[in-house]
């Protein structure tokens, strides 16, 4: 397992997740993109703010079978 492989592994997974694609790795799990829509939140001081949307990466481990 080389450094180039690990670097490429990270880049490919990132790019695919950015493109909203899920990446499945056998024996490990699946990487998915999750989108969190904007939402209102009421703060402690009484003001209401609109939180911006957010994209995140989620990993789902492979279920043993």
């Amino acid at each position: 397992m080389t450094k180039d492989f690990l670097k490429a592994f990270g880049i490919v997974v990132r790019d695919q997740v950015i493109m909203k694609n899920s990446v499945e790795i056998s024996g490990l799990g699946t990487f998915k993109a999750m989108h969190h829509s904007q939402r209102q939140e009421k703060r402690a001081d009484g003001t209401t703010v609109m939180l911006p949307p957010r994209d995140s990466i989620e990993f789902e481990a492979e279920k043993k079978g």
Partner: protein, 560 residues
């Protein structure tokens, strides 16, 4: 879209340039190492990607900050937007949150009602405290001041007495008017201590009386020994002097006539005079030996010793001799009657020291006045430093001096912020989702793109229908409606791609805008948005009605 294992291996082989077989082999090794690490209760980290950890046999992935940021690239730099109260109220109404509003109002009322009484109570309490506290404070302060003031004053008197003694020794009697002072000097050493204890213990009268009598007796003895003219004041001494001096009776009688009003304070005068004479005997004798200036007192002292042997022979001379010291004393008495009385009261009570205390306090007050001088010097130094720093900052601010931290470089960055206000509108053409990663072209293009955007703005002034409402999702974007909200559907790092998307959306009939957003991490981002809405609610409603590619992937922002 789902990327399965074979496709992922293919992509990985393309990205790394490694054979697909080796890639698949290494991928298997990686999965095995991660599972092994989790089994050993250890974490497995891939640099710039994340950490695999586990709870039991369950594998968890924690993305690195770099990966998180890159994935969230579209929304990088966005901050929470504060919603107007009207919008919140509208949302609450939509959500049937009327009771919540009522609660809010109720809370406000209760809070407002609660504040008033509490504030009133607080104020009243403060006033009461202020009113209540001062009496004990004042009383306590007075008592403390009395106590400590007495102690301090006595200490000061005790400490000052040695200072007064040399002054008295060095100066003449008449100039100093030594009657009260000298008496005080001698008496203070004893009575001062007594006063200290008396003031503390409250035993003034008995302790003060005794030393006074002792001083008077000592003074009388001194007078008798020195045979000064003062003896004529007391009848017993007059008799003795009458026996001795005979013709000299007239002079003491004159002195008595002059001092008839002062006869009541004879004891005090005797004490003072005795002190004077006692001091004279102590002070003048060495002066006589040295300078021989006071022959009168020297002649008086031999009379004390020779009294009965040569009384009448030198009577004429004695008259002159006795006249001079007596006249001097009379002059002292004439000059000092006002000062003698306070001295007498000084012994019997502690009321007298107050003038001295005042003098001492004045001296104390005068001393601190000397201190402010160094303070003023320090103040001047501080003010000078402040002025200098202010001047340097001012020069740097106005670019007269170039100081990196102070000289405003905003001049170059401000235009970067301003351009976003000038929104662009171009031809519509809707595109599919193309999240394009940050282009390396980035920064050099930024300035060009701004200029390009400014140039495009007038070019995109497509004729607007007169019937077109000010706000809306569809139509042609207008400059007038840029005071509202818009729905962002793309965030791109290359302006060219942004303009392409804008055109696609415009072709679809949307009001399409491109807004440059400066970002420290990615350079300038280009946000492609659709619609111009007067309120956030209108924008949200329109966002929910968008077509599928945008429906789950948009956010609302204020245009300006």
């Amino acid at each position: 879209m789902h990327i399965d294992q074979p496709k992922f291996v293919e992509l990985l082989a393309e990205a790394s340039g490694i054979d697909a077989e080796k890639v698949e082999q290494q991928l298997g090794e990686l999965a095995e190492e991660i599972r092994q690490a989790i089994a050993d209760d250890e974490a497995y980290e891939i640099e710039d990607f994340g950490i695999f950890s586990g709870i039991g046999n369950r594998i968890m992935f924690i993305p690195s900050k770099e990966l998180e940021t890159e994935i969230n690239f579209k929304y990088a730099g966005m901050e929470p937007l504060e919603v107007d109260e009207d919008v919140v109220a509208a949302d609450e109404q939509e959500d049937d949150e009327d009771p919540f509003e009522g609660l809010q109002m109720a809370d406000d009322d209760s809070s407002s009602e609660g504040r008033d009484p509490f504030s009133g109570l607080v104020v009243e309490d403060d006033e009461e405290e202020e009113e209540k506290v001062p009496p004990p404070k004042t009383s306590g302060d007075y008592s403390d001041e009395d106590i400590f003031g007495d102690i301090d004053d006595l200490d000061e008197e005790e400490t000052e007495t040695p200072e007064e003694e040399p002054a008295i020794e060095g100066d003449d009697e008449e100039e100093e008017q030594p009657g009260p002072d000298e008496w005080g000097v001698e008496a203070h050493k004893e009575t001062g201590v007594n006063r200290l204890f008396s003031s503390l213990m409250g035993e003034e009268a008995p302790e003060d009386d005794e030393p006074v009598e002792e001083t008077e007796e000592e003074a009388v003895n001194d007078v008798e020994e020195e045979l000064s003219g003062e003896a004529a004041i007391e009848p017993e001494e007059e008799d003795s002097f009458a026996d001795i001096f005979g013709d000299d009776d007239d002079e003491p009688t004159v002195a008595e006539k002059e001092n008839e009003e002062e006869v009541e304070s004879v004891s005090g005068l005797d004490a003072e005079l005795s002190d004077i004479m006692s001091d004279d005997s102590e002070v003048i004798k060495p002066e006589e030996l040295e300078a021989g200036m006071t022959e009168e007192s020297t002649k008086a002292s031999p009379f004390a010793s020779l009294g009965l042997d040569e009384p009448f022979d030198d009577s004429d001379d004695d008259e002159d001799d006795f006249d001079d010291p007596f006249d001097a004393i009379e002059e002292d008495d004439e000059e000092e009657p006002e000062e003698i009385i306070p001295v007498i009261t000084n012994i019997s009570s502690d009321i007298e020291p107050k003038p001295k205390e005042e003098k001492e306090k004045k001296e104390k007050k005068k001393k601190p006045k000397k201190d402010p001088q160094p303070v003023s010097v320090w103040l001047l130094i501080v003010v000078a430093l402040v002025v200098i720093t202010g001047a340097v900052f001012g020069l740097a601010y106005f670019k007269i001096l170039n100081i990196p931290g102070i000289t405003p470089q905003v001049a170059t960055s401000q235009p970067v912020v301003k351009p976003p206000v000038q929104q662009q509108q171009t031809n519509p053409t809707p595109p599919p989702t193309d999240p394009e990663p940050a282009a390396v072209e980035g920064q050099p293009q930024e300035t060009q793109t701004k200029e390009a955007v400014q140039e495009q703005a007038p070019a995109t002034q497509v004729p607007v229908n007169a019937d077109q409402p000010k706000y809306g999702l569809m139509g042609i974007a207008t400059e007038v409606a840029n005071d509202g909200y818009t729905i962002v559907v793309y965030s791109l790092s290359v302006q060219k791609n942004a303009t392409v998307k804008q055109k696609e959306l415009a072709e679809k009939g949307y009001r399409a805008l491109v807004t440059p957003i400066p970002s420290q991490q990615y350079g300038t981002l280009w946000r492609v948005s659709i619609g111009q809405f007067g309120s956030l609610v209108d924008a949200a409603i329109a966002g929910e009605e968008l077509e599928n590619p945008f429906k789950e992937n948009y956010f609302i922002k204020k245009i300006k």
